[in-house]
């Protein structure tokens, strides 16, 4: 009995070490003076300075942010409406549609990426670049939103909708005043999930990016091909910190909402 608990503790510890050790290494080496960023040679800020002077990184970062933002702004409302239709409307083939919406989530990214590439160059006369990246991101993000919001819809008491219509609200106003606000945690959750997903997607983006419009993950990858660079460590550190702060913020908001929600 005692042994088993000991063993579980050990496994948990191991899991966390595997999770955190690479991240910690990156953070530590981002401050190392070693020019390959692979061993400790004294503290320095110079890689951070280098990063902020590097225009290519700045552009790639900005591009990634814009793509992620547009993806969130399009995929979230689209996913919300799709989820509403799949949950509330009755029509033939609904079960099929509801299952197949998950396809982009379970399909290997290589397949989705390749399929989109063929689609863009053979079927639609699209110039590879910004637009194709954004379309591709919306394609794999919308199902995520549908998935998350469908989950929230299962917790909604649909007599709220009838009550609202009974009190004189049209279907549209009912959604605007009652169902929308009550779905908000789901919608916000979907957006919070889509943003990083889009921001750090590599595989699909790599297929449809074309030449020139590099996103941050593609830039990092291309840097590593020429050997390890401490700038990559800096990027990694910055994102780890930003993500953790974001997560803590979301957690805090959730706690605040818990006291007023339902």
């Amino acid at each position: 009995m005692k042994l088993r608990i000991w063993f579980l503790k050990l496994v948990s510890l191991g899991t966390y070490i595997f999770l955190w050790a690479p991240v910690l290494v990156i953070i530590v080496f981002s401050f190392s003076a070693n020019k390959y960023g692979i061993k400790w040679e004294g503290f320095t800020w110079k890689w951070y300075a280098a990063l902020f002077e590097n225009e290519t990184v700045r552009d790639a970062c900005l591009r990634s942010l814009v793509i992620a933002l547009i993806t969130v702004l399009v995929a979230t409302p689209l996913g919300t409406l799709t989820a509403y239709g799949l949950y509330k409307l009755r029509f033939k083939g609904k079960e099929f549609l509801r299952t197949s919406i998950l396809l982009p989530i379970v399909m290997p990214e290589v397949v989705t990426g390749a399929a989109l590439l063929v689609f863009f160059i053979k079927l639609m006369p699209f110039q590879l670049g910004y637009p194709t990246i954004i379309i591709a991101h919306i394609v794999f993000s919308t199902p995520l939103a549908v998935f998350v919001i469908l989950g929230r819809m299962q917790r909604i008491d649909w007599s709220w909708e009838e009550a609202s219509m009974d009190l004189g609200a049209s279907r549209f106003n009912t959604f605007r005043r009652v169902i929308g606000p009550l779905l908000m945690p789901g919608i916000a959750g979907a957006a919070a999930l889509i943003f990083p997903w889009s921001f750090d997607d590599f595989v699909i983006t790599y297929f449809v990016a074309g030449i020139g419009d590099t996103t941050l993950p593609i830039y990092v990858f291309s840097q590593l091909r020429h050997g390890a660079s401490p700038v990559v460590n800096v990027i990694g550190t910055l994102f780890t910190v930003i993500t953790i702060v974001g997560l803590l913020g979301a957690k805090l908001m959730e706690k605040r909402r818990m006291t007023t929600d339902i």
């Binding site: 008491d157 009838e162 009974d166 009190l167 009652v178």
Partner: protein, 373 residues
């Protein structure tokens, strides 16, 4: 010759209403009218179609055939958000992301009433339901009874032509339900709005309603005031549904002045008053309520026993003490049946209530009547 349509006497009229779900007929040829200002209850066991009927009036279900009129206007094709009736849901369905005041204001905001009018009407309505100081609370901060009153206020503030209530008290505990019944009636009298109340609870229906319609298998089988429904049930189903009721099977033997003489299947003769003209020799059933039966000690020979009362000799088979009354189950020798008797503590004579005790049962024929099926 042209006639001028005067304002209708009725808040709601249902004419030959029919609704099927697949092969199941939920509402079958129902016609009745609800008078303005009354509390009309639809009472029936679950699955009898009463909720479907209510939802058709509200507009959430479309009838297959028939007509629904609200104050003389046919509303069959008017969507729920344009009908001048409101529904109080069984689950209340209050909006959790809004305060009490915002919930009550919901319909008025939809109707784009001016801000000051909305403010005044909320205040006024919250006063009626005794929730003035709760205006800024959220729904989860309220008790069950308070939520119920918010739900009521939210609908009543719109001054509907009829308020539809779907078992609104079912979720409350017994004590609170009793209190809310009184509240409901007070509020209804105060605002003067017609109520159509759906319930499966006989006690609630009897104490709350002006009239009751008993529903079974999609049909209305009897309509009447609470006392009519309880005291003169016309069918076996109503008699049984309204509470334990003694039913005797037999036939009409002869006419006796204003009443009839009935013979049960074991040859006992019982006198009954008759509402309807019935031919002799018709086989039928009669009922008597357990609370109007008296018990007398064995061997009582006082005159009234024989002359104008029904008398049966029996033996106490079971005694169930209930506090406010005692329920006896009296076996009638040489028959298969037992008669239920409710004794209250005053009329209870000094007969020992023990199993096996011989007793005489006596009741006035005017409390017995014929069941039509």
């Amino acid at each position: 010759m042209p006639t001028f349509e005067t304002e209708s006497l009725y808040a709601v009229e249902l004419i030959d209403l029919q609704k099927r779900f697949g092969t199941v007929t939920a509402v079958n040829n129902v016609s009745f009218a609800i008078k303005k200002g009354e509390i009309f209850s639809l009472l029936g066991p679950s699955g009898c179609g009463k909720t479907t009927l209510l939802r058709m009036v509200a507009g959430f279900e479309k009838p297959d055939s028939g007509e629904i009129r609200i104050q003389n206007e046919i509303v069959n094709h008017i969507p729920p958000f344009k009908r001048e009736c409101n529904l109080v849901f069984q689950q209340m369905a209050l909006f959790p992301h809004m305060t009490v005041g915002e919930n009550v204001a919901y319909g008025l905001v939809e109707r784009k009433r001016p801000k000051t009018e909305i403010r005044n009407r909320i205040k006024e309505m919250l006063k009626v339901v005794n929730l003035v100081e709760m205006e800024d609370r959220y729904i989860h901060q309220l008790s069950g009874g308070q939520k119920q009153r918010v739900a009521l206020a939210r609908s009543l503030v719109l001054k509907p032509k009829v308020l539809l209530l779907d078992e609104p008290l079912a979720a409350l505990d017994r004590k609170l339900r009793k209190k809310m019944q009184g509240e409901l009636r007070r509020i209804q009298r105060e605002v003067g709005i017609t109520f159509l109340y759906v319930t499966h609870d006989q006690k609630v229906a009897l104490s709350l309603s002006d009239r009751i319609g008993i529903m079974r298998d999609g049909q209305i089988i009897q309509i009447g005031s609470p006392s009519e429904i309880y005291e003169i049930p016309r069918t076996r189903f109503v008699a049984k549904f309204m509470g334990s009721c003694n039913i005797f099977n037999g036939k009409i033997l002869s006419r006796n002045g204003s009443g009839l003489v009935f013979e049960d299947q074991h040859g006992h003769h019982l006198a009954i008053s008759a509402c309807d003209p019935v031919d002799t020799n018709t086989s039928c059933s009669i009922f008597v309520h357990p609370e109007i039966i008296e018990i007398l000690p064995p061997g009582s020979t006082d005159a009234p026993v024989k002359d104008f009362a029904n008398v049966l000799h029996g033996q106490i088979a079971d005694v169930f003490y209930q506090g406010d009354f005692t329920e006896l189950s009296v076996r009638i020798p040489d028959t298969t049946y037992t008669v239920a008797v409710h004794l209250n503590r005053i009329t209870n004579s000094n007969i020992p209530l023990n199993e096996g005790q011989d007793v005489i049962l006596r009741w006035d024929p005017c409390h017995s009547n014929i069941l039509l099926d």
